[in-house]
Amino acid sequence: MKKRYSIATILLIAGMVFGLSSIASADEPIVIKVGLPTVLSGPAAPWGQIGMEPYLTWIELFNKEGFKVGGKTYNFKLITVDDKNTPEGGAAAAKQLIYGDKVKFLVGHWSWNFPAVSAVANQAKVIFMTRTGNEAVPGGLYDPKKMPYVVFANPSQEQFVSDLFALVDAFPKYKKIGLLDCTIGKGPGWDLVEAALKKAGIRYTNEWFPFGTQDFAPYITRFKEAGVDIVYVAGWVGESMAFAKQRWEMGYKDMKVGHSGPFVSVGMYNAVCGQDAAQGFIGQYWANWDFKKTTVNPKYVKMCQDVMKIVSKKQGKPFVYTGWIGWLPSHLLILAQAMQKAGTVDDTDAIMKAIRGGTFDSTTGKWTMSGAKAYGSPVVFGTPSALSMIQGDKEIYLSEHPMKPLP
């Protein structure tokens, strides 16, 4: 009798354990691996490295809830490989991520190896979320038919133009904007930028400097003689800082300077330019809690603010870089919502169908994928094009010019 009770007890316990574990596994989120080919070495590495901690923290917060597709809960797992900002590095990173790590998607990409990464991703039928850089689109490299899995989740090409509109909004009495870029950035993208500026009636002039230039006196003088009072640099952070410092030393203190790209740290600008010369320096701003013209889902605003706090605590000093907000989290939100719309996490074509022309709620606002006429496919996401400027040792909101949907 005792033996029969013991067997029954064991069976009952085993049944409960088995049952509970079945319930637990039904609720256990399924992990979707996403790959981030990014710059972790070489001169542009600071911009790759600084995003890692907030990306991982944001994913951790996002995964608490995850997202549901077909009744199942999914989480993201980020795998990062250094793409060295070179074509070979980009192709190798994409191959490693897709074939080695078996990621389902490539996200958060911004480096200068679009053609190489795109070739690998499209061949493998892996959705590749990147930006509309000078080398990606205007150069004729992007072909919607040959690259059906490319999504321009950051319209950087168009954002540059929108930034200039935001500059004009901030300084309506400007005389002329000086656009400065390195000769290696000179390409068909500039024709598009200039066409947009001419159409909008914006007064501007261009200068290009050879790669490696640290001395900007000739360019500063040329801008001054051309009547330029605002200089906006296409990226090139170190060069922008050198420019700002040198224009101050040359006595052209009324010449405003800014660059496309967010501030890695205001302290760096103060250290390189000098506190006085760095004041008023303009940069891109992704702090969604400060946006005035773009509405962002309060849930995502809170998440981003929480990430800033957590990373600050982890690093033991205030974390102020906001650039990360506009990239990987936004890409992952587009992906998650597209999978929900498509009702699948595996059918790449169905997910791409949901992305094309779809509207997505992201960390930088709700935007509809546009660009059907301009790009041959509506795969271009929007941007708030918000700017900030340095004041003391902080950056403060300056202006905003949300991008109009592309035709």
């Binding site: 600071p46 390189v272 000098g274």
Partner: protein, 288 residues
């Protein structure tokens, strides 16, 4: 006519190229090699100077000397343990040295990235402010560059012309075999010269650190420009290095003012013309 600011800018660039080119030519004269990692010694000098000023709080002139001594010492180690070993007395020796010093470029840049990080650094707080001269102004940092270059050039002149070491260097540069016969230890002298050459590059990097930005990749352009300067001035000529650096600095600034980014094309065309018309440069000895 370019405005005064452009001429001042040209002078500052000239100062960098002169100091860099002088060190490079000095090494070439004695060792017969081109140190392709010369720009990376410039970069390391900037970093040593940066940390001496910011982390250790050492006054900037002393920091400059420290950067010269430390990086010069590193140059001696490179000469002793790498260049001397690969520079075998054969036709391939020079090629091996070239490959080794090119490899050092990547080694030093990689090491600096790991040790110092890749984020741009600045020393705007060293000698801040500008001297306002009415229609133009010039920063105290740039004035310091000119004073530093003058001091270096005068010191090098005295060392080379009025000291035993200088005499030995000049003797070894002109006739190494004869110099050996007169008891000059050319091997030891080579170490010293490599140390001086690298120290000059490091101090140039240090004095320019407050003017420009500091990161592991700043050495490339000064290296190329100093190479152009010694081609213009004449490979192996110390006077040529100074004159070449002076010409190149002013040309770079004035041509960029007139022709913007075409300045680079103009400079390289000029160098090609000099190589075709006067391959020995302005002050180099003719091969005939």
């Amino acid at each position: 006519m370019p405005p005064v600011g452009i001429w001042i800018d040209g002078l500052i660039q000239s100062c960098t190229y002169m100091t860099m080119a002088f060190g490079m030519v000095l090494v070439f004269s004695i060792l017969g090699i081109l140190n392709w990692a010369h720009g990376q010694f410039y970069m390391m000098g900037a970093f040593v100077f940066y940390y001496a000023v910011t982390a250790a709080g050492i006054p900037f002139p002393v920091s400059l000397l420290i950067s010269g001594v430390l990086v010069g010492g590193l140059g001696i180690l490179v000469q002793k343990f790498i260049i001397e070993r690969v520079n075998i007395p054969s036709a391939q020796g020079a090629l091996y040295v070239t490959v080794a010093t090119i490899a050092l470029i990547f080694f030093f840049e990689g090491a600096a990235s790991m040790i110092f990080g890749m984020q741009d650094k600045g020393l705007a707080m060293v000698l801040p402010g500008v001297l306002d001269l009415g229609s133009f102004s010039v920063s105290y940092q740039k004035i310091a560059v000119v004073i530093f270059t003058l001091v270096i050039m005068i010191t090098m002149y005295i060392v080379l012309n009025h000291t035993k070491v200088g005499l030995a260097i000049r003797a070894a540069a002109q006739e190494p075999n004869a110099a050996s016969l007169y008891g000059i230890n050319v091997k030891r002298l080579s170490l010293l010269v490599m140390g001086i050459g690298c120290a000059l590059a490091a101090m140039a990097g240090g004095i320019m650190a407050p003017v420009y930005i500091i990161n592991p990749f700043i050495g490339g352009v000064p290296m190329i420009m100093s190479l152009l300067a010694i081609v213009i001035g004449g490979l192996g000529s110390l006077t040529g290095a100074i004159v070449g650096g002076l010409i190149l600095g002013f040309l770079n600034s004035v041509v960029a003012y007139h022709l913007s980014y075409f300045s680079e094309v103009v400079l390289f065309v000029l160098v090609i013309i000099i190589l075709l018309v006067r391959p020995q440069g302005l002050f180099g000895a003719s091969r005939k």
